[in-house]
Amino acid sequence: MDREKLKADIKEIVEEWKTKEGNLIMILHKIENRYGYVPREVSFEISKLLDVPLARIYEVITFYNYFKLEPPGKHTVAVCMGTACYLKGGAELLSELEHILGVKEDETTKDGLFHLEIVRCLGCCGLAPVIKIDGKVFGELKKNDIIDILSHYTKQNGQMVSGVGSEVSGKP
């Protein structure tokens, strides 16, 4: 990200809210909406402009689930752990995803392609167990289906997937 542009952006957002009560959380909302997460250099900048300690900003960011500290992945993989999916093997799908992607819940693969998260009930319990990638739901899944689904997305992005997790996540 261009540092000067970033600084100007933040300044503009902060100026808008500076004099209003409860400004920190509103500024963080704007930042989250604009960048999809709150980068550390942005927090430093807000800290300076508002004269609020960085520690306080991080207390707020980590208190609310809405704010993220890491850039979101290009594709969000949501594993349903609602009751029906859980009983039908949701946990197995999750561990397979963790294994292939090499990340845990709320983490993003190193290549930035996938972000893994857990959700409670996607409202299609008849299809359990399900995962959702971006807007698309995949139902009645078995553990072995996961690799094919993921390779569809990696191919789209011109990457190879051979079934070994580390290659998908971009690790050596």
Binding site: S43, L54, A55, E59
Partner: protein
């Protein structure tokens, strides 16, 4: 005033008094865990619940004010049962590491568990494995042992205004950590150790260097020497059953010899030398207009770190004089080594300090290697020394009194009060008065600079000059003082102060982060009294009258602020980033 009844005993207290404090006035103790006298109640733990007749909820005594006509019960089988459950729930997320914990036998949670006779673990155990953070080399953070009481965060943010520690996440995931889960060493932490002094468990403890000292003492090649700081003498007795403020100086001297130290020095000697340099520096700046005013004291390493990180625009105002600890260190490996014909690299200098930041100061920059060696090799806090005494099996209470070794063991009353807020200022004024007027003060006490008020502002006359003073302790009090200076400089108005003393810890070094646990104002007052009593009974009360200091200047240093002084006893400062990551 409001009237109420506690366990059938009538009480009358001022409006706003909490049930917890009201109970104390009628000798009723309510158990607490998260509450600390220094800090506002956080109502985090729930151990202090009490019943109030007519109210079917149990209320927390720490944060519930007494109301007119309240009928309070602090203790019955049902309350005990609730308190037991609270402790059992805390235990379910707390490791059973007591035997190998830095707080073993001196832990508030452990004491509560013993008092409530918790002998079985009723709930399933879940302790999240979290790595230790020893990155500062001064305090060790073990988040696994944290019970989320919030004391450390409160003290770091509100009392010290450092904001190194914060509460991240919420609910079950809540943890104490610097912003962004970086190491403490990369955070604004100034190593004052107030977090460790306020933690009720072993989640934050001092970095233990006792094993390193034992190793050096065992090494026949090494010549181990030691110094004790002013504030240690009036607090270490607490670890052996003496009341706070008991002066243990002479027992400490004999104790340290028995531990195996070949020479026993006193940091107070260094304090006298600090005063010679710093008072001269003040007179240079004030009378001869050489250098920026106000002059700001720099004996406190946590304050120096804080200034370098948060107020580096004030560097010109900082006294370049090193702290007494570093002065004794540099002189041990030069003056003393030459006198005794010992190779400086054979000398191991250990200092006993009330402070965790002193562990950081010894490597702060290259100036701390002025002798050609690292001037101070190891720093032990008061708490660590108490442990060593117990390990050595020495009966502290029956030890004979002894004297320190000459050359760097004799001190004046002015030096010993360095351990209390206002003390450095007072000692400096005694000598500055002499330097300006060539007479000693008739009355050496300056009552206005003493006491626990956060910022003390006063002025004194030295000859024809009025000198305006400010003394701040507890780092959150610094900003007020510095902002007044900044404002005056900006507007070109007369300076609000000429001389400023800052000590990072509330009360000064007697309330330091390495001192025995359970510090509160009554303890601070008692320890301070111990130091002023030491001053009063001293035959010599002004640093410049110390014959051994005079000898040092005649034989070795030349004159204050001279060439040799500058090489050995002075340092420089630079701005440092608050965050390194």
């Amino acid at each position: 005033m409001v009237n109420a009844v506690i366990n059938g005993i009538p009480v009358k207290v001022e409006e706003g008094t909490t049930i917890l404090d009201a109970a104390k006035t009628v000798q009723v103790q309510i158990p607490t865990l998260c509450k600390h006298e220094d800090l506002p109640p956080s109502a985090a733990c729930g151990i202090c619940v009490v019943k109030i007749k007519g109210n079917n909820k149990m209320l927390r005594a720490c944060c519930t004010p007494v109301e007119e006509g309240m009928d309070i019960i602090t203790n019955d089988p049902e309350i005990v049962d609730v308190r037991r459950t609270v402790i059992e729930l805390i235990l379910s997320n707390h490791p059973n590491d007591c035997l190998t914990c830095g707080r073993n036998n001196d832990c508030e949670l452990q004491t509560l568990m013993a008092n409530f006779g918790i002998q079985e673990e009723f709930f399933d155990k879940f302790v999240k494995k979290t790595p230790k953070d020893s990155s500062t080399g001064t305090v060790v953070l073990e988040p696994e042992k944290c019970i989320k009481c919030g004391r450390c965060v409160e003290v770091c943010q509100d009392v010290q205004d450092v904001w190194a520690l914060s509460f991240l996440e919420r609910g079950f995931k809540t943890r104490i950590s610097p912003a962004g889960d970086i190491n403490l060493a990369d955070s604004p932490c100034v190593r004052c150790g107030q977090c460790s002094a306020h933690c009720p468990t072993g989640a934050i403890v001092e970095y233990d260097h006792t094993a390193k000292v034992w190793r050096e003492l065992m090494d026949p090649e090494k010549y181990c020497v030691v110094q004790i700081a002013p504030a240690v003498r009036v607090s270490i007795g607490e670890a052996f059953g003496y009341p706070p403020g008991t002066n243990m100086t002479k027992k400490l001297y004999s104790l340290l010899r028995r531990l195996g130290f070949k020479a026993v020095f006193d940091t107070n000697f260094g304090a006298d030398v600090t005063i010679m340099e710093e008072a001269t520096e003040f007179v240079e700046r004030f009378v001869h207009k050489k250098g920026a005013l106000p002059l700001i004291t720099t004996c406190c390493p946590a304050w120096v770190d804080f200034m370098e990180k948060f107020h580096s625009d004030m560097i010109d105002h900082f006294s370049s004089c090193k702290s007494p600890q570093q002065i004794v260190g540099a002189l041990s490996k030069t003056y003393f080594a030459q006198d005794k014909k010992i190779e400086p690299d054979k000398i191991v200098m250990v200092s006993i300090m009330p402070c965790t930041a002193k562990k950081y100061e010894i490597k702060r920059d290259e100036e701390m290697f002025a002798s050609g060696q690292q001037d101070i090799d190891i720093v032990l806090t008061t708490r660590e020394l108490a442990r060593m005494i117990k390990q050595a099996g020495i009966d502290m209470t029956q030890l004979p009194d002894e004297e320190a070794d000459h050359v760097m063991g004799d001190y004046t009353g002015g030096a010993t009060i360095f351990g209390a807020t206002g003390g450095v200022m007072e000692a400096a004024l005694r000598t500055a008065y002499f330097l300006v007027t060539e007479n000693n003060l008739e009355k050496v006490e300056f009552e206005n600079v003493r006491g626990l008020k956060g910022v003390k502002e006063t002025s004194i006359m030295i000859g024809e000059f009025e000198i305006k003073l400010a003394i701040a302790h507890g780092l959150s009090n610094v900003e007020y003082v510095l902002n007044k200076v900044r404002k005056a400089k900006e507007k070109g108005e007369p300076l609000p102060y000429h001389f400023i003393e800052v000590m990072a810890c509330p009360g000064g070094c007697i309330g330091g982060g390495g001192q025995p646990y359970m510090v509160k104002d009554s303890v601070r007052i008692a320890r301070t009294k111990g130091l002023y009593a030491d001053d009063e009974k001293s035959k010599i009360r002004c640093s410049h009258d110390n014959p051994f200091v005079q000898k040092l200047y005649n034989e070795f240093l030349g004159k204050p602020l001279g060439k040799k002084s500058h090489e050995l006893l002075h340092t420089e400062y630079k701005g440092r980033p608050q965050y390194r990551k």
